[in-house]
């Protein structure tokens, strides 16, 4: 599993691996928002938590279809399935690699983009925390959806249609943490709910993803 994780990380930072694209997309979306809603800093500060969460979610979406599609095309997935690695482990390692190359950088970049959107002082900590807790859920849910459509050619659009409804609870609780945090309200309940979703998804979905991969491989 660690070998697979390291290989995927290497692949994503080498040429054509797509590392950094998600970050660039996040930056561009954030920069475009004021052009859409106007430069008034009070309004921007108010919508900043939601915009940043939505931007992070969409950036996550960009790299989802690479999770399995490349390995499917070049035959690696067949070979992995016949290797001693359990497919559950493969799915978990893939989700982990996806999180390390998108979720984690997005979380670290979000506070800087928060400055651009005039995020209130009290919001920075909560925004970062909510992304740190929530993005792993985005990665494992995305891995599941990517496993579903691995056999579909050019499934990128289909993938978004499948995965976005599944992202709703994570987005709601995540953005709620950031929103309440920046408004100085009680934050603990959404933090706990967000953590619950993340932990549940991380614990269960790799098994479902492996099941789905097996169905697709046969």
């Amino acid at each position: 599993m660690i070998a697979l994780l390291i290989r995927d990380l290497k692949l994503s930072v080498r040429a054509g691996g797509g590392f950094g694209l998600g970050l660039a997309f996040f930056l561009i979306v954030t920069v475009l928002v004021p052009f859409g809603v106007g430069p008034e800093s009070g309004l921007l500060g108010k919508i900043a938590p939601g915009v940043l969460w939505l931007g992070a979610l969409l950036s996550c979406l960009l790299s989802l279809d690479r999770i399995f599609a490349l390995d499917w095309e070049d035959g690696s997935l067949d070979l992995l399935a016949t290797s001693p690695l359990p497919l559950e482990g493969v799915a978990a390692a893939k989700a982990m690699a996806h999180w390390l190359t998108t979720g984690l950088p997005l979380t670290l970049a979000a506070p800087f983009l928060g400055i651009l959107l005039n995020l209130p002082q009290s919001g920075f900590g909560w925004l970062t925390l909510s992304l740190a807790i929530g993005t792993p859920a985005l990665s494992v849910i995305g891995t599941f959806a990517a496993a579903l459509i691995v056999g579909v050619k050019r499934g990128g659009l289909l993938l978004s249609i499948l995965v976005l409804p599944l992202y709703v609870p994570t987005l709601i609780f995540g953005a709620e943490v950031a929103r309440r945090g920046s408004a100085g309200m009680e934050v603990l309940p959404p933090v706990l709910l967000l953590a619950g979703i993340s932990l549940g998804a991380v614990a269960i979905l790799p098994f479902v993803s492996a099941l789905v991969l097996r169905i697709n491989l046969r």
Binding site: D71, E73, G75, D78, L79, L80, L85
Partner: protein, 204 residues
């Protein structure tokens, strides 16, 4: 070592070969022959455990089979050595140097895989078999895009594998000069839809 018992396999939900039976003992090689589309690949995939059989059994430890297909599963941006050492780690072995040497890849080991020729890629794909350290090789067209010298190289590697107590099941059209039995799939072509179970119960 590998025993196939009354195996019926399907492609796209339709039975293609039925009641296939053969046995492969240590040190033996079996060459599967048949025209394109006759179900050789489906048979090999089923034996490798990648798809379920409609009926019958494959009697073999799944952990003993090393499978290699048309595509080599190489990552274009990794070097030859990185590609191979990944599989060595996945299979928990450390025989990479030997595998590189046997397939004459030593000089290429720091080249990224996307700069290799088709034949060189194929050799790298086959070298993967050695790092798996598994006894039963199931190979689908292993000699595609290999030149004459490389085919001889491959034949000698298979020979050594058999001599060491391994076994090999291959779908290939080329005569490797091995003492291999030939298994023609033609007589096993599925002729009728099995009545029981699985296949579209009662839609007919």
């Amino acid at each position: 070592m590998l025993k196939v018992d009354e195996l019926t396999v399907a492609r796209g939900g339709r039975p293609i070969l039925q009641n296939v039976s053969f046995e492969l003992k240590a040190g033996q090689a079996l060459v599967v022959r048949g025209p394109n589309g006759s179900g050789k690949t489906t048979l090999l995939r089923t034996i490798a455990g990648l798809q379920p059989a409609i009926s019958g059994q494959v009697l073999c430890d799944e952990e003993a089979i090393a499978y290699a297909a048309h595509s080599d599963g190489l990552k274009a941006n990794l070097t030859v050595a990185e590609n191979l050492s990944f599989w060595a780690e996945v299979f928990g072995t450390a025989q990479m140097d030997q595998a590189l040497a046997q397939f004459n890849l030593n000089d290429l080991q720091d080249r990224p895989a996307n700069t290799l020729s088709a034949g060189q890629k194929r050799r790298l794909g086959l070298a993967r078999l050695l790092v798996t350290a598994r006894p039963v090789w199931v190979l689908d067209e292993p000699t595609v895009s290999l030149d004459a010298a490389s085919v001889d190289l491959f034949a000698s590697v298979v020979q050594a594998h058999l001599a060491a107590g391994g076994a090999a099941l291959m779908a290939t059209h080329i005569d490797l000069g091995l003492e291999a039995k030939v298994f023609d799939v033609a007589p096993y072509k599925a002729s009728m839809i099995p009545r029981s179970g699985g296949f579209d119960e009662g839609f007919l």
